[in-house]
């Protein structure tokens, strides 16, 4: 028998409404062990972390720490020795580093800054020799760089003598050097007997550090194994859920667009760079073509897309539409060139939820229709938009919040269709919509392309990439590592490009810039 479990997760179920976020998840963690919790976006990783942290409750199932059942509440979880370092770090930006680290002593009325500072310094000494944080105990946390803030979060987690440390996507925003430092450090903690749950979807980091893997997919355990028993390839397949294990080349889904006439370049992106986000990217978007850009979260794809419409300033490089150099001051000037960006977070930055469907449809075109700043109602156009895109709503006056997610997304697409956008950049257009709405949206996008538009779709979903794309683009750590026709690539090569930045499978640490 292996040493007894530190943490035992037993048949956890968790529902949000009707959807199961976790389905019968069981796992265990031993002292000194690093267990990697992996899974794609929405696989249930964060839900499990929240439950372990005590900030969310499972609907059924049991969690026990050293044999004792864990019940309810953040403090209970902390007292049991569980510490969580959230991806957003959850620090107090306006408080000093010392106060952040010393945390919240339990059960005492009195508070002393001096004691907090002493305890913070003691924690830092325990954590590493000569911690650079010792010099900035009196600084506010908001004044520190991200890597330093992360160290503050780690030190805080260790203040409570935690025996179970949960790190949620700790390397997502770190540079390579900081990542190295962190991984070494986590190893040291494990060697000292701490059980570590390392949540990540970055295969390269996980393979360097984990003793065991736990892969979640759609809320259920897809794979639980050790490094010696599994190849990186199989891990990736477990994460993404490929049905065809050996990636048989799918026949080109439809139409190679060549049949429809000569493709001409509409939108040219040349050697664009934003330091720290993406580097020297060149692509061409062509009329009647759907290019799908994919890559892991944090690979720079969204930053790239935002830069194309002037939401972020480019450090280098240029943009051209039909051969003419483009100077963008923001989305409004991009729109005047028929270039439109549909953001991923449609609820916050795409739609006006409390306004009517009609108003939302008009949202982009009002200033084009207005005469001397006065608006009239354009009932016909609105009706056409609703019927063309099959938007199911209680008429044009219904407020948008009464529509389902899929229909909201259709409103957004219809808006830009009415605005006669020629070049569309869509960030995760089908995130959070149901299967039938997704199929409808895909059809709409294909029609749109067929009618002469150039589309760049950003998607993290493997099936969507393979299904929708005429051309596939892959970002890896800010570099375009793959740019090819859909028929030239299969599922495995695509996964390898996303995870390693290289189409060669089983290469552990690919150099960014390789491949393609």
């Amino acid at each position: 028998m292996p040493p007894p479990s530190l943490l035992e997760i037993n048949a956890i179920w968790k529902y949000y409404g009707a959807t199961a976020a976790l389905r019968d998840v069981s796992a265990s963690l031993r002292a000194g062990e690093i267990l990697a919790l992996m899974g794609h976006n929405g696989a249930g990783k964060s839900t499990l972390v929240k439950i372990l942290a005590g900030s969310s409750q499972q609907d059924s199932g049991k969690i026990s720490v050293e044999g004792k059942t864990l019940t309810g509440g953040v403090r209970k979880a902390r007292d049991a020795g569980i510490a969580v370092i959230y991806q957003d770090l959850s620090l107090f930006p306006k408080l000093t580093v010392a106060e952040n680290i010393a945390g919240e002593p339990i059960g005492r009325l009195r508070y002393s800054f001096r004691a907090a500072k002493r305890s913070a310094a003691a924690t830092l000494d325990r954590v590493e020799t000569n911690s650079p944080l010792l010099a900035c105990l009196d600084r506010n946390a908001e004044d520190l760089s991200l890597a330093m803030r992360q160290r503050v979060a780690i030190a805080r987690a260790l203040t409570y003598d935690s025996r179970i440390l949960i790190l949620d996507e700790p390397t997502a925003a770190l540079s390579l050097q900081d990542t190295d430092h962190l991984l070494t450090y986590v190893r040291k903690l494990a060697a000292a007997g701490v059980g570590v749950l390392f949540v990540s979807h970055r295969l390269s980091d996980v393979r360097r550090i984990a003793d065991r893997y736990l892969v979640l997919r759609d809320g259920a355990v897809a794979l639980s194994t050790t490094p010696s028993e599994v190849s990186g390839n199989a891990l990736a397949l477990a994460m993404f859920g490929a049905d065809e294990v050996n990636g048989a080349v799918k026949p080109d889904h439809a139409s190679n667009q060549m049949g429809k006439g000569v493709l001409h370049d509409v939108f040219t992106v040349q050697n664009v760079t934003r330091h720290g986000e993406f580097n020297n990217v060149s692509i061409k978007l062509r009329a009647r073509e759907i290019a799908v850009l994919t890559g892991l979260t944090g690979s720079g794809r969204t930053e790239f897309a935002e830069s194309l419409v002037g939401l972020r300033r480019l450090d280098h490089g240029e943009l051209q539409i039909s051969g003419k150099l483009l100077r963008l001051s923001g989305p409004r000037s991009a729109m005047q060139h028929g270039l439109v960006y549909v953001p991923e977070d449609r609820l916050r930055s795409g739609l006006f939820l409390r306004r009517s469907t009609a108003e939302n449809l008009a949202g982009a075109t009002e200033h084009l229709r207005a005469r001397f700043g006065f608006l009239g109602k354009d009932t016909d156009k609105t009706a056409a938009g609703i019927s063309d895109f099959g938007i199911r709503c209680q008429g044009p006056d219904s407020t948008l919040e009464t529509l389902s997610g899929g229909n909201q997304q259709k409103v957004l697409l219809a808006r830009w269709h009415m605005a006669k956008a020629r070049i569309l950049i869509l960030d995760e257009p089908t995130a959070g919509v149901d299967v039938s709405a997704k199929a409808e949206i895909h059809n709409r996008l294909r029609e749109w392309a067929a009618a002469g538009a150039a589309l760049l779709v950003i998607s993290s979903e493997m099936d969507e990439v393979l299904d929708l794309a005429d051309r596939v683009l892959v970002f890896h750590r800010g570099t375009l590592v793959l740019n090819c026709q859909r028929r030239e690539i299969d599922r495995e090569q695509l996964m390898a490009a996303m995870l390693h930045g290289d189409t060669k499978i089983e290469q552990e640490r690919a150099q960014p810039g390789g491949g393609a």
């Binding site: 942290a53 900030s55 509440g73 953040v74 403090r75 902390r78 969580v84 959230y86 959850s90 620090l91 107090f92 930006p93 306006k94 408080l95 106060e99 945390g103 919240e104 002593p105 339990i106 005492r108 009325l109 009195r110 508070y111 002393s112 800054f113 650079p132 900035c136 600084r139 908001e142 004044d143 520190l144 760089s145 890597a147 330093m148 805080r156 540079s175 050097q177 900081d178 190295d180 430092h181 070494t184």
Partner: protein
């Protein structure tokens, strides 16, 4: 602030908001020394201190609320309710030993109503307290039917009468309240929880701070301190009515914000609030002394509040993160 040399101390504190406020006060003081030297007479300074007492007591309570990321626009209404209640009960012959605790309890209870709306029903503070402000004030006017309480009990009158070289009990009370609150804010768990909750409610909850406790503490303490303020408010005026302290909450919020408290919560200090109150009251007093028309007093007050807020925002507009390079591992 312990430091080996005074220059290091100066450097560490140069950019603090309190330093800027003190400089602003110094400038005002120099201007007054030239324009109205009478300002610094002992009689006038005592008058200034008496005018600050009530405002400081209520502002300290408001600081608690603002630190926790809240706001309370019902403070003026609570002040009116408690002062009218205490004067009425006193005039009916109830002794001070009964009236004062009752007033304090009423203030705390009204604060608890605000806290419950915000913590339990999750109503945004500005809306919740706007509602209760109308409610409290309306009920008070219904009860008094607009009548003045034109006399106050003798014991209350004596609380408000000057002694100790022109100072009255409100000055002493303000000092005690300020010192006690400073201790609570900096030396107790609940005080630090106010800062934490106001800074980042999510992080606070994730580190095991109750999401309700700071809200209840902040609003109940404001209610209780407003009740203490109401005692001196009634005592100094000698008469009260239902429309008393109308709009007073705005002066209070202005003083706290001028004192450098972040209106979004998590940042602020008692020293700053004291300086804010001092600056506002000195300015008012000076303008009266200089026979400046009332509307100019409003303009000057508004301008100084804006100036103070701009001063406090300035470093944040320019700030760049330090330690951008991570030290080698």
């Amino acid at each position: 602030m312990k430091s080996s040399s005074s220059s290091a101390w100066l450097r560490a504190n140069f950019h603090r908001h309190e330093t800027k406020l003190a400089s602003l006060l110094l400038v005002l003081g120099i201007a007054l020394a030239v324009a109205a030297p009478r300002f610094f007479s002992s009689v006038n300074l005592a008058l200034l201190a008496r005018s600050m007492g009530v405002l400081l007591i209520v502002s300290v309570g408001m600081l608690n609320v603002i630190l926790a990321g809240g706001i309370d626009v019902s403070a003026g209404a609570v002040l009116a309710v408690v002062s009218v209640l205490m004067v009425r009960l006193g005039n009916h012959g109830l002794p001070a030993s009964a009236v004062l605790p009752l007033g304090l309890l009423t203030g705390a209870a009204l604060g608890a109503v605000n806290a419950a709306l915000i913590a339990e029903l999750r109503i945004p503070p500005i809306v919740a307290t706007l509602g209760t402000a109308g409610l409290f004030r309306g009920l008070l006017l219904e009860w008094t039917q607009g009548e003045w309480e034109s006399s106050i009990p003798a014991w209350l009158n004596s609380i408000g009468s000057p002694r100790w070289g022109g100072l009255d009990a409100s000055v002493l009370a303000a000092v005690v309240v300020a010192l006690a609150t400073a201790w609570v804010l900096h030396r107790t768990q609940i005080g630090r929880a106010l800062f934490r909750y106001g800074d980042s409610p999510l992080a606070a909850v994730r580190t095991g701070i109750s999401p309700r406790q700071p809200i209840y503490f902040a609003y109940i303490s404001l209610g209780a301190l407003t009740a203490i303020g109401a005692v001196f408010y009634a005592a100094q005026l000698g008469a009260v009515q239902g429309n008393a302290a109308n709009g007073y909450e705005l002066t209070v919020i202005a003083a706290v914000v001028l004192g450098g408290a972040d209106i979004l919560g998590g940042r602020g200090s008692l020293l700053g609030t004291f300086l804010g109150v001092l600056l506002l009251c000195s300015l008012q007093q000076a303008l009266v002394l200089l026979h400046v028309a009332t509307f100019w007093q409003n303009i000057a007050t508004g301008a100084i509040v804006l100036l103070g807020v701009i001063l406090s925002a300035a470093p944040r507009l320019r700030r760049r993160p330090v330690l951008q390079q991570s030290p080698s591992a």
